[in-house]
């Protein structure tokens, strides 16, 4: 057999060996198939249509007139709010908020209607509990709109009485008006905002861990020499034989989240499928490469896995997809560039939301490629570890 064929068949042997290992240990099936799918299912069903509906709120209506009841009925009709309880006084409503029964409440003091009708400017208040930030900001929006509308309704009556026409009324009530355009996510859908990064981030974390486990567990089992021999002593061939079968599974799992996000939920994908598919493929490859790099750096299963875990979990906040990176303290802003997820997120914003030409994301792609080259730094260290290290514990 000529050496090329020999090498090829060595690679095939290692790949076959890896497939058998993956099938024989439940941890692989669990982490590569079950966990990602459960995760996808979890986040997308949790957030469903993307906006919480009928958030429970309370009311303290000390005035209790036909007018205030009408205002409150209108508030209840907002999709996102549901008045679940009327409280006799402020203290009771505050307690209900502390108990978590309601996320916000309206306070209408006694005499509000009377003062309003006699043009004496009464004041109503609304309280939210931003310890639950999402619920509180949505409630703030509804309650503020309601307050403006209630105010406007009374002013409108005044204007009609003065003989203003319909089209002039709004010009008088609200001379300057804001018109908001949320680029790429006009409905302010939270699932679009979060799931688009949460799903790939979870997959990335699992890839880190499985890659490291699959390499260093060989040492632990005392099988690493056998593995290297099978690859004719070439570390690249040994790694390729191990990681290619895994890559196939990861690509299927990556495709699965793209199907869930962009086909089933029909989330915005302005750039079309391919730029994001490329982005996802790069993230998968980088995650594998990063796992290999950690194995090279830390020749112990336990340590490599611990560091990968910490790095992976930290990726979620530091990629800046929920709390933006520009608001981090400067040292962490710098640190964020060491996390591959950050580049995936930036490309996602450029491509899927803002529909930029592909070349605009070149810097992100380049960064991911640089991460991918990391394992080339210390291959011999890993080889030595595989051939010589004795698992001591």
């Amino acid at each position: 057999m000529n050496p090329n064929d020999e090498n090829r068949s060595a690679l095939m042997r290692v790949m076959r060996r890896e497939v058998l290992r993956m099938l024989s240990q439940p941890v692989y099936v669990f982490c590569m198939v079950v966990a990602p799918l459960v995760g996808y299912l979890f986040f997308t069903t949790l957030m469903g249509q993307g906006l919480p509906m009928d958030i429970p709120i309370g009311v303290v209506d000390e005035d209790n007139t036909a007018v205030t009841r009408q205002v409150l009925r209108n508030l209840d009709a907002f999709q996102q709010s549901e008045i679940v309880e009327q409280y006799a006084n402020f203290g009771e409503a505050r307690e209900a908020m502390q108990q978590g029964k309601i996320y916000a409440f309206y306070y209408i003091p006694k005499g509000t209607t009377e003062l309003a009708l006699s043009s004496k400017q009464p004041e109503v208040s609304f309280y939210t509990n931003p310890s639950y930030l999402v619920a509180a900001s949505l409630e703030y929006r509804d309650m503020k709109t309601m307050a403006e509308l209630a105010s406007g309704a009374i002013a409108r009556e005044t204007l009609y009485a003065k003989g203003y026409a319909d089209d002039q009324v709004m010009g008088v009530l609200q001379p300057i008006k804001m018109e908001m355009h949320a680029i790429g996510n006009p409905g302010l859908n939270y699932s679009i905002y979060l799931s688009n990064i949460l799903l790939p981030a979870m997959l990335m974390l699992l890839i880190f861990q499985v890659t490291i486990y699959s390499i260093h567990s060989e040492v632990k089992e005392g099988a690493s020499k056998h593995w290297m021999e099978m690859a004719n002593g070439n570390i690249y061939r040994a790694l390729a034989g191990k990681l290619l079968p895994q890559l196939v599974v990861w690509i299927v799992m990556g495709a699965a989240y793209m199907v869930v996000l962009y086909a089933y939920w029909d989330f915005p994908l302005k750039c079309g499928l391919w730029p994001m598919a490329l982005n996802a493929l790069l993230l998968i490859l980088v995650s594998q490469a990063f796992g290999v790099f950690l194995c090279e750096l830390l020749p112990s299963l336990r340590w490599a896995l611990s560091i990968a875990t910490l790095w992976g979990v930290l990726s979620f906040p530091i990629s800046g997809f929920s709390f933006p990176q520009i608001a981090f303290p400067a040292p962490l802003r710098a640190l964020s560039y060491l996390f591959p997820l950050r580049y995936y997120y930036l490309t996602y914003v450029d491509q899927a939301l803002n529909d930029l030409p592909l070349y605009c994301s070149w810097a992100n792609f380049a960064a991911l490629l640089a991460f991918m080259a990391l394992p080339l730094l210390l291959p011999n260290r890993l080889k030595k570890c595989l051939l010589e290290y004795q698992y001591t514990r």
């Binding site: 966990a35 986040f43 919480p52 958030i55 939210t128 931003p130 930030l133 503020k144 300057i176 804001m178």
Partner: protein, 405 residues
């Protein structure tokens, strides 16, 4: 008092095991020490200020310039550039030199003069909801203020009081309670701290159990386990983890919030009375789960990925009223769900112990339930079962010796 002596012996052994195992040290001490610092530091600005914004002012009038000047002066928006046309402005947004765009069309002044509504268009990059929130709320505030003045001019001959009444027949006031600047750290950090306790404990305890099983498979059995009942083993270990985590919890819940000036308005007695069952529930939950830890590392991989879902399922970020029923039931399996909710209520909103009764009851039920399941796990591995199998093995060995001789 043989049993007490036995429990203390297990306690001593386990304390020794956990303090001298570097892998366990990582999860029991290093992660709880560093993670809260990192997270709290990350969110220490609480909210995003001075979001870079570009403006296209096609009206270029005194009013439009006044509007932009006032928006620029507001704390959340920073106008970094004025562009001649939309194309130029959009380019800046695409290059991430700016995240929002304010467009004032040329009809702006005509509309104002003729008594129509003048429209200002706002565009926001949706890479983060906070950009959107910053530009919309700042511009709205400015427009409301300017509207007042414009209306005053339009209601010719009206007194100041009449104008004000006309503007707002009903005044309103907005009060965010407990997290007064609607900050991210105040909202997220307490939940992360509570979750961290459960997650690190599960990982550390699972690692130790995996270690023990690995040893057992290699025929190494700790000598001290043989004369103990499963209940003694269980209580001894529980005591160990409680002692360790009492220290961890004191750091996480007392020192960290103080370091970063996070809100903490609960009564300390309530806090202690609530965290006590939380620690117990976590301990027995961890000991139960450790029943499936067959080796040190597999357990880590299988459990870490649930951390983020657990944060979401607790109802702290996605409101619990909108969590589908199925996931809600799933969430009751984890001590973190009750732990996060109860702790946030006490710590952030100053709720009293009676206000968190549902969570408290949930935690005690979990403690009882997981103590029972943990006992089952220990009964299987240390109880009659094990001793029988050791006896069987010894008999076999002797039989073989007999054969050999």
């Amino acid at each position: 008092m043989k049993w007490l002596h036995n429990i203390l012996e297990v306690f001593r052994e386990e304390l020794h095991n956990s303090i001298f195992d570097e892998g366990v040290i990582v999860f029991f001490f290093i992660v709880p020490l560093l993670y809260p610092l990192l997270y709290a530091y990350l969110y220490s600005n609480e909210t995003v200020r001075e979001v870079a914004t570009v403006a296209v002012d096609n009206a270029n009038s005194a009013t439009s310039r006044e509007f932009l000047r006032k928006v620029d002066a507001s704390p959340d928006v920073d106008i970094v550039g004025h562009c001649a046309d939309m194309q130029e402005a959009v380019n800046l947004v695409h290059k991430h030199k700016a995240y929002c765009l304010i467009y004032i069309p040329s009809e702006f002044d005509n509309a104002l003069m003729s008594g129509q509504q003048a429209v200002v268009e706002l565009y926001s990059d949706m890479g983060s909801m906070l950009y959107y929130k910053a530009v919309l709320s700042s511009c709205t505030e400015v427009s409301l203020a300017m509207n007042k003045d414009i209306k005053a001019q339009r209601l010719v001959g009206a007194t100041d009081k009449q104008v004000s009444t006309f503007n707002h027949p009903i005044e309103y006031e907005y009060v965010p309670m407990f997290n007064t600047q609607s900050g991210f750290a105040t909202f997220l950090i307490p939940a992360v701290l509570v979750l961290l306790i459960q997650q690190t404990m599960v990982l550390g305890v699972g690692m130790m159990a995996g270690e023990e099983r690995e040893k057992k498979r290699r025929g190494i059995l700790e000598p001290h386990v043989l004369d103990k009942t499963p209940a003694e083993m269980l209580l001894g270990k529980a005591l160990t983890f409680f002692a360790l985590y009492a220290v961890v919890a004191a750091y996480v819940f007392c020192v960290v919030p103080r370091l970063f000036h996070l809100i903490q308005i609960g009564q300390w007695q309530d806090m202690v009375a609530f965290l006590f069952p939380y620690l117990l529930a976590c301990i027995f939950f961890s000991l139960t789960l450790s029943g499936i830890a067959h080796n040190r590392e597999v357990f880590i991989i299988m459990f870490v990925f649930v951390s983020v879902p657990l944060l979401f399922i607790s109802g702290i970020s996605w409101p619990s009223c909108s969590i589908p029923h199925f996931w809600k039931v799933v969430s009751w399996l984890f001590p973190s769900t009750f732990g996060i909710n109860g702790f946030v209520k006490i710590n952030n909103t100053g709720a009293l112990l009676r206000d968190v009764r549902p969570e408290l009851i949930g935690l005690w039920i979990q403690t009882a339930f997981y103590a029972f399941t943990a006992w089952l796990v220990y009964y299987r591995s240390y109880g009659k079962h094990l001793k029988d199998s050791i006896e069987v093995a010894e008999e076999k060995l002797q039989a073989r010796w007999a054969e050999y001789l």
